[in-house]
Structure formats: C-alpha cells, structure tokens
Symmetry: C2
Subunit: 168 residues, 2 copies
C-alpha cells in the first residue's frame, strides 16, 4: 500500500473545507479547461478518419463558411493567434486541403483558399456534430443553454481586453 494518498487529516486548524476559495473543484477555470479537453477528446476518433485535429477542424469550419480568407481574418473569427495559425495552415496545405498564396491586391496578406479536396471533405464532416451530440447524451436544450453561457463568459473575458471588444 502506498502512503502517498492517505486520507485527509482531521486536524486542519486554518482555512477549512468548503470555505476555501482555492478549492480545486470550485474553480470555473478548472471546469472550463477540463470540459474543453474532454469534449475535444470526443471529437478525436471522429476526426481521425478525416485526418484532422480539432483546431484544424475549426479552421475548416471557418473556411467552409467562406473562402478565401486571410490569416488575420481567420485569427479574428477563431480567436486564435496568427503565430498559432501559421504552422497549422501549412499542415493543412501539406494535406492538400487548401492553398496559401499571397493576395494579389495586397502582397502582405495571404489568401487561404480551399482546394477541391478541402471543399469535398465537408460531406464527411457533416456527420460529426450529430455523432458528438449522441455520444454526449445531453439534451439539445441543455447544450444550447451551455452555449449561451459560454458566449457570455467569452464576452465578459474579452470586455476589458485591448483586442476584441471595447469600442469607444
């Protein structure tokens, strides 16, 4: 028997059980991180046949809605750093799903355009949302509700930021 995980001692004179503001189980940031990882893990087996990671899937969602798009535009829509997108887009290009070429009108910008193969992949992606919801086994109403809550948190978190919101 290991001695590491011995039961919590009864003699905790200072701050106590549920009055602890640092209690792990009560941190929203912890719940967010775990929920995010857990749900993304659900996508992994579904995305693997398409050869996509979850961030790559999100980029494809953005491009299926509109193409071509610049890195800056993708960065804004996905709320992802341009420095993160750069290598990610290169991998998608290497996979033959898109091409990266300079914008004719503005040589600074990149025009990220889906290839035929990239566009066609959407057909297979169409099954994914339903499969995830089924695996989750939660009601659509509750998921919708969660989505609204998350949208409010995102707005609140971005409210005091240099980017994102705050228009004077």
């Amino acid at each position: 028997m290991s001695e590491v995980g011995a039961a919590q001692a009864a003699d905790q004179p200072e701050i106590s059980f549920d009055g602890d503001p640092l209690a792990l189980e009560r941190q929203v940031c912890f719940a967010l991180a775990v929920a995010s990882r857990s749900v993304i893990a659900l996508y992994r087996p579904l995305l693997e046949p398409l050869g996509l990671t979850h961030p790559q899937y999100l980029v494809m969602l953005a491009l299926w809605q509109r193409t071509p798009r610049s890195v800056k535009e993708l960065s804004a829509v996905l709320q992802l750093d341009a420095g993160t997108l750069s290598p990610l887009l290169k991998r998608l290009e290497a996979a033959g799903l898109l091409v990266r070429q300079r914008d004719a009108g503005d040589e600074r910008a990149l025009a990220v355009t889906l290839t035929e193969r990239g566009t066609a992949l959407r057909e297979q992606a169409l099954r994914i949302p339903e499969a995830v919801v089924r695996r989750l086994g939660m009601s659509l109403a509750e998921l919708q509700h969660l989505h609204e809550s998350l949208t409010r948190v995102i707005a609140a978190a971005n409210a005091g930021d240099p980017d994102s919101g705050e228009r004077p």
Copy 2:
C-alpha cells in the same frame, strides 16, 4: 469591413437555426475552446508575479488541498495525462515549490511534496480568485450556474470512456 455575419433570421424555435450544422458560431466545442483560452488568459497577468502558468496553478491548488500526492493521484484529480504532468512537475521542482521523491512504501510511485516555499505561495494565490471574478464582471450566481453546466458536460463526456466512470 466585411459583411461576414449577416444577421440571423427572426426565430426558428425547432431544429436547424440557420440550416448549417457546421456553422462555426453554433459549435459548443468551439465556444468551450475559446472560453477556456479566454478565461485562462485572464489569469496570466495575475499568475505571472507568482511565477506560475495556469496548469501549474491548478497543480498547486491540488497540492495545497493535500500533500504529498502521487502522479497517478494528481492525474486523476486534474484529469491530466501522466505524460503531461511529468515535465510540468519537474519545472515546479526546479522552481523550488515541490520535491519529487520515490514513495518509501512503493518505489514505483512518486511522492510529490510541497516545499515550505510552495506552501507559502498559497498566501499570494488567495487574492487571485476574487481578482478574476472582478475582471470578469459576472455575477457569482451565473458563474456558479456555469460551473454546474460544465460539470454535467464533463460527466457526460467521460460517461462512455474507458477511464473515468463506467464500472459494470
């Protein structure tokens, strides 16, 4: 300015709101990922004076609740891979916040124990939760509610998994 997000039609009470099941703005996984990153970004400036990243902060929360703990135990509580924790714990050890030594009772297991410095750091961490809530500017009730929603998603996502739940 681009006209990307043309306004949503009036009201569709049932399924298929704007028709596209792959619409980025409707994906719960996307909202989760963005919310998680946005909220964690809020912690960055607060954690920087303590010399901690957010994952490291979560490990410290777990250890402030109980120490020593094995890697396996931390892995279970934090829902984090042991392969992720291993280098993370080494960095915390290098920072002088904990020590990693083999468990006397079971040489396979590691006893992760807070140092005095690691224990003392809790005092400064105590201010963080309130500061984050203030920056978010959301009511405690709504945060509490979100936490409950997230807990249900986590449970649902882990329900069909090899790990976590499901004991026949």
